[in-house]
Each structure stands twice: as C-alpha cells, then as structure tokens.
C-alpha cells in the first residue's frame, strides 16, 4: 500500500500561490492512494500550460508532450497497453483550443483515456489571454475589445458527440471532485471531466467567489443516462452552474473493439523474430 509521500516528485510547483492547481493536485494524490494505484501503474500524458506541468509534481509514468497533443499520445499509449490506466491532463487552451480536433475524435473512438481539463477560462502560462472557455466580453491585453467569440461549452459539445462520460468538477469542492475522478477512472470508455479552477493571477472575472456563488452539485435524483435531459443540464451556465456527472453511457471502449488486442495488450505480445520469419515466408508467396 503506497503512502501520500510516494506520489511526491520532490519538485516544487511553479504555480502562483493560491492557484486552483494545488487543490487539484492534492485531490489526485488522494485518489491514487485511495484506489491503491502505485506511481508505476499509470501514465499521465500532459500538454503545455500550467496544467501540463502536473505530472512533474505527481510521481508517475509521464509523457509531457506538446501543446494540444496529449490525447493522440494518450490514445497511442492506451492502444499499446490497455491494461494501464492512461490519464490525459491539460488546460482549457490545451484541450479545447489547440487540441480541439483531437478531443472530438477521442470522444468518437471512445478510447479508454481519462481526460481531466483544468479549466480556468484563461491562458495562464502565456500571461492572461482569452481561452476558448473565456466568457464573451472578457477584456484582456490581447482582446482589448473583449472576447468576441461565443464561449465554448465543453459539456454540450461532448454530449452532442455522445461522449461516454461527461462531468464537471470544481477545484473548490475537493470531496466532490475526488468522487468524480474515481467514477471517471472506473468508467470503461473515454471520460471527460472539466474541472473549474480559478486563476488567481489573470482571471479577474471567474474568481473563487464567483464560482462559490454559482456552483452546485447535481441533485441525487438526477439521471445522467438521459441524453436529452443531460443536454438541458449542460446548457446551464450563469447564475447556477451544475457540477457532477452530467452524462454517461455504457458503449464499449475502442480497446474492447480492436480484435488484435482481445487476448493480450499489444506491449505484452512477444515479438519472436523466428515466428515472424516463418509467417513472412507464407506472405512472400503472394508475390509469385
């Protein structure tokens, strides 16, 4: 049984004091500890941004790749070793902006990757530009006339694509978030959790106080399997913002449907040159 210390990397986070990422980091360490998943038993693939640095502060197998490209890498890892827990981590700019196309197709594939988006509705690392989830009208140094584009709603987007697990969490409600993450990990297919997280340095609109006044956990009677109701719930953004599992279905994951890995993960399948050679002798006959 690991201890919390086993997840420490000994590196000091480069985040601002008060950053929502600290709370998220703490929750994740507790989740892995409580689920008894040791550092070598999972992989975090991350992108670029403040959230992309996550695995440098949480000990595990780590592939900190390119901006926007965590999902393709995570998909490759999962297909090569589907018995491994594969987590993709990034911010709103990373996952919804630069990597938007990959999100769409990861959802379609229903690859069993867990995507946790640290959504602070702003670009932190590049110092305060609008992100896809910034609210219309937000003025920044780079958007002097305010954000002109419609705010992206990752929840409705995911439900429209029939994403098999769609949830929203909040860094300010750690126990709730922990429960969500555990559900996402237990889910058979692709899971998306959009984690609302204040950026204390750059986002002066969506502050702790702002979220605190609006965020509420979904009622226990809420049925996340009802897609139409889920869509209605996902549209809720304003005075009240629901957190919890908004939509869920049980369609089979991609790795369950790839025939060549039915018996063994790809990486566990031994490569035996003599056997390949023997098979090739048969294949070469096709050319005569």
């Amino acid at each position: 049984m690991p201890t919390l210390d086993d997840y420490n990397t000994g590196r000091t986070p480069a985040w601002c004091p008060g950053c929502g990422n600290f709370a998220i980091l703490k929750v994740f360490k507790e989740v892995y500890l409580e689920l008894d998943i040791e550092p070598h038993q999972f992989v975090i693939v991350s992108g670029i941004g403040q959230a992309g640095k996550f695995p440098h502060y949480l000990k595990c197998n780590t592939f900190n790749g390119l901006h926007g490209r965590a999902l393709p890498v995570a998909t490759g890892v999962k297909l090569a070793n589907h018995e491994m827990l594969v987590v993709a981590e990034g911010g709103d700019g990373d996952c919804y902006g630069e990597g938007g196309n990959h999100l769409m197709h990861a959802i379609r594939r229903n690859i069993g990757v867990k995507l946790f988006v640290h959504d602070n509705q702003i670009y932190g690392l590049t110092k305060g530009q609008a992100s896809p989830t910034s609210m219309e009208g937000m003025v920044t140094k780079n958007q002097p006339f305010g954000v002109l584009s419609e705010q992206l709603n990752p929840m409705t987007l995911a439900i429209a694509l029939d994403c098999s697990f769609v949830a929203r969490g909040y860094a300010g409600n750690q126990e709730h978030l922990k429960g969500l993450i555990k559900e996402a990990i237990a889910h058979r297919g692709f899971s998306l959790i959009d984690i609302l997280q204040p950026c204390v340095t750059f986002n002066k609109v969506n502050t702790y106080q702002w979220y605190q006044q609006r965020v509420y956990p979904l009622e226990t009677a809420y049925d996340p399997e009802d897609r139409v109701e889920a869509f209605r719930k996902a549209l809720e953004w304003g005075d009240r913002i629901p957190i919890g599992i908004i939509y869920r279905n049980n369609r089979p994951s991609m790795e369950e449907r790839v025939p060549v890995i039915k018996d063994l993960p790809l990486v566990k399948q031994p490569v035996i040159p003599e056997e390949i050679k023997k098979a090739l002798e048969g294949t070469l006959k096709e050319y005569y």
Binding site: T62, G76, I261, V271, Y288
Partner: protein
C-alpha cells in the same frame, strides 16, 4: 569501401526486351490489365519493371501503365514502346510517336468509333468478342489482355492461374467466361496480327513481383511493427493499406488518425508504451508532423517515418513524382537533433532499409526516415526472392526482470554513447518520465544552462558520433576506375543503372547511388573517386539539386554538372542518356 547490393547482373545480351503501355481514362481498367500482364510475365520467369502515370481523379483524364519485361534484369522504363493497348483516342494521339520500329497499337474500333488503317494498328473487337464468347462486355479488358499475350506468343495457362487468383471470390462461371474471353482474344490476335514480330525466350523460374509501398510495409512487419497510425495521402497511402491488410495476421494496430499531427503523436505514444511504431505521409501531411518529429527527438522516442514525396509546394501535383523533400526531411522540426534518412532505390532496398530503420531508431532512440516518391511507390520490380535471414531484430527496451532488477532508473541518464536506458512503463516499479521541455536525467523539466548543455551533448553530439559509424557508403556500379561518375539517391537508382549499362560499352562510366542519405558515412572513398573523375554529374528529380547542395555542405565537393527533371515525371533511360551525353560531349 562501397556498398554492394545484389545487382542481379547476368552478363549476357538480352534475348528479348519489350515494353508495353496501356493507356486510357481512369476507371477503364488500365491497372487491372497492367497488373495481370505484369504478373503473367513475372510468373513466366521474366524480369519485369512497371511504372504508372495517373491523374488526381477517379474517372476520366489520361492515365497509363507501362511494363517492361526481359530475360535479363531491368531497372527502369524505356521510352520506346512495342505494344500499346489503347482504350481511348487520346492515348493514340499521345503515345503513337513512342512506338518502336516493330511496335503495334491494339485498339477496338467499335469502342473508339474510329478505324485506323495504318500498318502498325491492330483492330481487336475487345467488347464484341467479350460479348460473343463471355456473354458480357465487361470482359473486354480480359480480351485485350489475351490479345497482348497472343501477339507476344506467351502461353495462356499462366494467365489463367493469375486470373483465378485475382477473381478467387467470383463464381466458377465468371472464371470460365474470363478464360474463354482471354483465349478468344489471344486467337484473334494470333490470326490477325500479320505484322506481329515478337520473339519470346523460353520461360524460366517464376519471380516475385513487388512494389515499394508493399516492400516498406513488409519490411516494417518483418521488423516487429506493432502500431501504424497515419492519415491517407497519395502516394504514401499504399503503405498503410498494405499493413492494414496484414494487421490481423501479424497482430498490428493500424489506426487512421484524424490528421497527421495526431498520427505522429499516436505513434509516439505507442512507442513510449513499449511497442515498435511507425507513421507515414507525403509532403503536406508530413509538414503537419514536424512538431511531432521534434517531440520524438526531445523525448528520445524511437519512430520510423515513411515520407513518400510528390511535387509541391502545397498540394502540388498529387499523383506525380519528385525528389524535392530531401532538405525538408533533413531540416524538418525545430531545434537541433540527430536523425537518419534512408532513400531506397528499389523495392528490395526498401525492404531491407525499413528493417534497418527500425534497428537504428530503436538503438539510438531517434526518428528515422524512409524517403520514397510516387514513381518508386507505384513501380514494381521482380526478384528471385527476398532473403529473410539477413533481417535484424534487437530489442533494446528494458522489460520485466531486467528492468525490475535495476536499483535505480533515470530515463534520460547521461551515458558515454548518448543512449539512455529505455524502460517499458509498468514493467517495474521505476517510473518513466519524459518531457518536451528540456529536462534532467530523470526527465523532469529544467531551466539551468549546465543541464541543457549536458543534454545536447548526450542527445545530439554523442549519438551522432555513433550513428555516423553505422551509416553505409554509397553503392558503386560500373567502371571501377571511372572517368565519368553519375551520382544520385533514392528512386533514380534504376534509371541511372540502366544508363550506365548502355553508356559503359564505350566509356569508363560509373554510378554512385546513395540509399543511406544522411548522415554521410565516415567512409569517404567515394569522394576520392569523384575528385579523380574527369566529369561528375548529380542526377536529381527536382529543380535545384538538393543532394548536390548537401554534398557541398557536408564535404565541400562541387559537382561539375547537375541534371534535373521537375515536370512531375520520372527520368526515362533514353532521356537521361541524352542529358548525360550533352555534358559528356563537352569533355
């Protein structure tokens, strides 16, 4: 000193050397006729070379399929054609001038709605015969194929074997009808082609007929490939299609990614997870991959990339050929890092070099390119066999007990060779950490200059030193004491060799062919040879002579002349000889 491939040189005069062209619109079945005839020739034991020329459309336009076959080894297409099968009028206008002295055009006057009375035209009612004997016009192409075999006097039994294999999923009835149609076509041609004068050598041992995309795919499979992700793009798609066709048999995951960015990143993910992974594309698609290439370099994740060139910029000429992405492949990706570029000149080289690409990329944890082009991708060659015993497979990954037994593990540990231990995630308690940011030995991101310098020395300088030692020198063919040297790389191998075969009858001429293009090997005998020669010519299927620039950059050597072709078409032997003679004549 030099690389010697199996050259298959039989020092004898060719008894026969015929070229056949099938021309028409896309969708008329040119490829079916071409593929069938090529297979019949290779199964009859002849040496075969085929190449294709087609437009970027599914129907219409003008396309052709060219086959050359002989009883001695051949490596390129010739411009003079002995039999042209025309399926449309445009083919006559475009290709009649290419007919050899005894050459014949066969056509169906009923389909073309025109009769040609010239002596070298043979009117065969393809559709009419098909309807009469097979009961369906659809077998017109089978009649045409039979007619060609009749003109040449080639045994029809082998055709029947090939056809049965191709139509294995069709009913016995359809196969029988096709047999009858081919026979009727053959008999018609035999009876009516009074001026046909072709001599056929007796059949020999049957040969394998294989193209480069298949050879790259086979080479990858032979190397233990487990994961291939790509986005379709001509002319690289054939590799993906081939591997997908073998995915079940060899337990390979082939994933069509949403774009090329995803394709290379997926392959890197699979490689990081511990399996051999590959991607492939052409110029524009590869342009999207270059950030991923740089990621492969920084994270030291092994990957093999097939880059099938076509004319650019941008969409360029999608179905045509060019060798203009050599310097792009060489300089693609931001930052400085080692890479290896192989450019096979034949399907056989493509097979072995793909195997070597996996070996080198795994050993040094670097990206390795297989650079081909449309001409090469769509060409087919014959061989007696492929030697499977010379394949290399070494697993350089740390797995299982060997990994678990290590007291400590650092993914990017500094070592003398520059190569750090590559563990498989999950196989031991050690975690594997890597980063696109500059990182320390453990793989965590850093900012300090000292660590950066150590990493550059390890990742770039140390590795490159050892990689250079692995690289093979160019292949020398022709005179061993040449006065004239023609140099090239990749797909020009065959046509340069063909030109040397012809020119060396009265000249001291040799070819230097680079299939291991970058980095240059430490062996520099080839440079001495070029310095001693009276005339050195670099032959390139591009506008600027990119390889010549690279040679100058790496060695300071300047070629006396460069022969370029950049109309999107490959060099053909006679044209290349013409260009070479223009320079040789000035000696």
């Amino acid at each position: 000193m030099f690389l010697f491939y199996r050259l298959y040189n039989e020092k004898k005069e060719a008894y026969l050397d015929y070229s056949i062209k099938i021309g028409g619109e896309a969708g008329q079945g040119i490829q079916t006729i071409g593929d069938t005839l090529s297979k019949v020739f290779s199964r009859s034991g002849y040496h075969v070379f085929t190449h294709q020329d087609y437009e970027s459309r599914v129907r219409g336009g003008h396309n052709f399929y060219q086959i050359r076959f002989s009883d001695t080894p051949i490596t390129a297409s010739r411009t003079k054609i002995d039999i042209i099968v025309v399926l449309d009028k445009e083919s006559i206008a475009l290709h009649e001038g290419e007919l050899s002295e005894k050459g014949m055009i066969i056509y169906d006057s009923a389909s073309l709605k025109e009769k040609y009375e010239r002596p070298n035209f043979l009117d065969v009612p393809f559709a009419g015969i098909a309807l009469d004997v097979g009961g369906d016009r659809i077998m017109a192409n089978t009649v045409a194929t039979g007619a060609v075999l009749g003109m040449l006097g080639i045994n029809i039994d082998i055709f029947n074997e090939v056809m049965k294999k191709t139509l294995s999923k069709k009913s016995e009835e359809i196969i029988k009808a096709n047999e009858k149609a081919a026979l009727a076509g053959r008999d018609y041609a035999k009876t009516n082609c009074i001026s046909c004068d072709f001599s056929i050598a007796p059949p020999a041992l049957k040969k394998m007929l294989i193209g480069v995309n298949e050879a790259v795919g086979l080479g990858a499979i032979a190397s233990g490939l487990k994961f291939y992700s790509a986005y379709p793009m001509t002319p690289s798609t054939g590799i993906m299609t081939y591997i997908a066709g073998k995915a079940k048999e060899y337990n390979i995951i082939v994933e069509q990614a949403e774009d090329e960015i995803s394709a290379i990143n997926m392959a890197l993910g699979a490689s990081f997870a511990g399996v051999r992974a590959m991607t492939g594309s052409s110029g524009g698609g590869f342009a999207l991959m270059v950030e991923g290439l740089s990621l492969a370099a920084m994270t030291e994740t092994p990957i093999v990339i097939a880059l099938a060139q076509r004319p650019a910029p941008a969409t360029g000429l999608p179905t045509r050929t060019e060798q203009a992405d050599l310097l792009f492949a060489l300089y693609s990706g931001h930052g400085e890092f080692p890479r290896v570029i192989f450019a096979p000149g034949t399907p056989e080289q493509a097979f072995y070099l793909t195997n070597r690409a996996f070996e080198i990329s795994q050993k040094y944890q670097i990206p390795v390119f297989i650079l081909t082009d449309q001409y090469l991708s769509d060409a087919q060659w014959t061989y007696p066999d492929l030697d499977l015993d010379s394949l290399i497979y070494n697993d350089y990954r740390l797995r299982g007990n060997a990994f678990a037994a290590l007291p400590e593990y650092k993914r990017h540990a500094i070592t003398e060779s520059g190569v750090s231990p590559l563990g498989v995630p999950g196989e031991a308690k050690h975690v594997i950490v890597t980063d696109s940011d500059e990182h320390d030995e453990e793989g965590h991101l850093i900012e300090d200059g000292e660590t950066r310098i150590q990493m550059v020395i390890k990742r770039l300088f140390q590795k490159l030193l050892y990689i250079r030692g692995e690289m093979m020198p160019p292949c020398l063919y022709g005179s061993e004491n040449p006065e004239i040297i023609i140099t090239g790389w990749g797909s020009t191998y065959g046509v340069m060799k063909d030109a040397v075969d012809i020119l060396q009858k009265d000249k001291r001429i040799a070819m230097l062919h680079f299939s291991e293009v970058y980095p240059f090997s430490n062996e520099e005998a080839w440079l001495e040879l070029m310095r001693k020669a009276r005339l050195s010519i670099c032959v390139e299927n591009n506008a600027t002579g990119q390889f010549a620039s690279l040679v100058r950059l790496e060695t300071g050597y300047v070629f006396d002349a460069i022969v370029n072709r950049y109309d999107g078409r490959p060099f053909l032997t006679e044209e290349l000889i013409g260009e070479l003679n223009a320079h040789i004549g000035r000696l």
